[in-house]
Subunit: 425 residues, 2 copies
């Protein structure tokens, strides 16, 4: 091994991280709460491979996402890629294997995704964990609203404080642009440039792009107004006035219907309307949303409707979903986890000590048995350093010393068993 490879062996590549102690426990706890939330809404887990054919994962990927994918060549010479999201693999499974099921299908996922990011920063890693849902087979506003409501429930379950969902509709901008220059069809790259300028609320860049594309008159005015169509329900009336064709009007009415349903579901106070919410996956076709938490400079979740994606793999089914970034949520979630042992027991050669440890474990407690040969005061010092609530050491007369945070007692085995039966995690 050269000194360079020896150095490399001890390092992680840039943009990757190890988690242990409390951070690993918090991530595990958040994933558990997310799964409980998703299952509570009737979603079932789907688990797809970490990598698959590049051609699968590139389906309808934006140029940026396609650029960010990690690729490898398998031994048969085919190009594989690490999944950059979970929506496309889920669409593959649904389109190829589950097309004949009673609808709707409700799936959730939680797992690593991979994106090569030139300059990874806080909350932006090259491997990160996405958790989310896909609601397949329902093209209704009720389905759109459910996905937004589940996203809100997921953020609440993680104790993310002060968050907001910005809810938009990619169909509105697309419908208006469909009129552009007498109905010319915008190439995907041009649409992306318009969307980017709208998203950044960059008026000048937006006007320049519209001029360049020869988009003028009412159409140009409507597009230029979109970045400012954000706020409460009054935004919908402004959008209705700006709508330049029936399709644009329908897009606004759909958004209005979803917002009304979210109000009935009691979560509208978490939702801000934002027609400028157009930055999205290339496959989105309807509502689109991002979630933001106070104090973070990037979104914690995003989602939208993607009615055309699944048909690439087989059945033509409408779908809507969202994904959240677990590591990003960890930056603001107020969940705390204790990882220290709650009970420390001396004597792994002592059969009764094993029995007592098992009793405490059955109560849900974290129990360490000594394996270092620590006895008496050394074990007690160790247990206290680790923050254990209870330390148990066997005495030579068959009784046990129980050192608890509130004092010390000597107990017979039967009495100690009764005591343990009252302990709670």
């Amino acid at each position: 091994m050269t000194s360079d490879t020896r150095f490399q062996a001890r390092q992680l590549p840039h943009g990757l991280a190890d988690l242990f102690y409390e951070q690993a426990a918090i991530k595990t706890e958040l994933e558990s709460r997310l799964q409980d939330t998703f299952r509570g809404w009737g979603y079932q887990r789907i688990i797809t491979p970490t990598f698959e054919y590049d051609t699968t994962l590139s389906t309808e990927a934006s140029p940026q996402l396609a650029e960010e994918m990690y690729r490898l060549i398998d031994r048969e010479g085919r190009i594989l890629a690490l999944r950059p999201d979970m929506t496309v693999p889920t669409a593959r499974v649904v389109g190829t294997r589950l097309y004949d099921q009673t609808l709707p299908l409700r799936f959730y996922y939680v797992g690593s995704v991979f994106r090569y990011d030139e300059e990874p920063q806080a909350g932006r890693r090259r491997e990160f964990t996405q958790a989310g849902i896909e609601l397949v087979g329902a093209g209704t506003p009720e389905a759109d609203a459910e996905v937004v409501a589940v996203a809100i429930g997921a953020l609440e379950a993680m104790e993310v404080p002060r968050f907001q969902i910005n809810l938009g509709q990619v169909g509105f901008l697309k419908a208006i642009l469909a009129d552009a220059g007498g109905g010319i069809r915008l190439e995907n790259g041009d649409l992306r440039r318009v969307e980017a300028a709208v998203h950044r609320k960059n008026d000048r860049a937006l006007r320049d792009i519209l001029d360049e594309l020869h988009i003028t008159g009412r159409t140009a005015d409507a597009v230029a107004a979109i970045p400012y169509l954000c706020g409460d329900v009054a935004v919908l009336d402004e959008a209705r006035h700006l709508a330049t064709n029936a399709e644009a009007t329908a897009a606004v009415e759909r958004l209005a219907a979803v917002y009304e349903l979210l109000d009935r579901a009691g979560v509208a106070d978490r939702v801000s309307l934002d027609l400028g919410e157009v930055r999205s996956m290339a496959y989105y076709t309807g509502i689109s949303f991002h979630g933001y938490a106070a104090g973070l400079g990037f979104d914690v979740c995003s989602g939208g409707r993607y009615d055309g994606l699944i048909s690439h793999f087989g059945a033509d089914l409408p779908a809507v979903g969202f994904a959240l970034g677990v590591e990003r949520c960890m930056l603001v979630a107020q969940v705390q986890c204790s990882v220290a042992p709650q009970v420390v027991v001396q004597g792994s050669a002592n059969a009764a000590a094993h029995h007592l440890a098992a009793l405490a474990r059955a109560r849900g407690l974290r129990v360490e048995m000594d394996v270092m040969g620590r006895t008496g005061d050394a074990l007690i010092a160790y247990g206290r350093e680790r923050g254990a609530r209870y330390i148990i050491t066997p005495l030579t007369d068959g009784r046990y010393r129980l050192i608890a945070t509130d004092g010390e007692r000597t107990l017979r085995r039967g009495a100690l068993e009764k005591e343990i039966a009252t302990w709670i995690p």
Copy 2:
């Protein structure tokens, strides 16, 4: 897209699998039980990246494992690899970042590992999930015994029926071979060939290899006897007689001490001694074990002591651990999981219906709200098809129809809320 790539887009590469419905739920449940078991013994989770530098992951890898690793080149031209196990990454974290902690360290992991297998079969996939533990900093028989006991506890927690741990000691064969031909040092490849012949109980191949290596006399007789040193505690006496040097004797006594501790821990009935248990990771230095379940032609878990590995990354710490294959355990585990909705509720435009659904969710039930516009009999038929225990539809007079498996009632909202408060998952 060519027809070939279109076909590829719908397929998974060989040796990979999608899991959904009950299979995904069972995997999730097993992983949850495993984590509860590990935490109960005081182990804390460690999460390392899916890929890292090849030089890290290749540390002390056997030639076969090195051959089976999936590699990719990052954009800086460095060779990365998908992790083939979790022990080496954990050793890296411990050796480089946790060398100054109070010992022992107890870590558990659960996650995907990747091995290119020429002909993947049942229970052998190119991506599979390993769950396991590493107990670091304790070089004692107590530590060895704890890891075996946790493995037994993990298999029991998954309801794997009729399993057995074959417990051996790679140090015994290595110590005897150290005498070979007047103390010549066996090259790693030769040691591997001897180990393979011992493992397969192939007497003829073993004798041929010993002849070829000029190993004769008591040493050859001892090696040739090893494949048959399996069974109960009487095996230890046979091994004591065969021991050709002090190191071999010490290896037997260490195994005897571990077995005695497992007896005290009340789990010796699960353990069979097997000095022929020498097929192992290249970095094992002491005890070594595999777990087998009745009816499966391959092991479900394996582990051992690896005292030299962590020093490659920094601190020189003894360690012992084990890993189990979650998908393999799924083939025999008797856990069943229901995934169907337990409650189906009509009316996502009805604020009270949202409230009722939330109440049932808070009780831990899986609750689907209709998003397909199903009402009345259509909703009831859907709920019954899905196996729901309760179906709730609002009536026009403000009351609710509750269709349960044991009959139907019409209730006011308050009465229905009281009813829901009694439901259990």
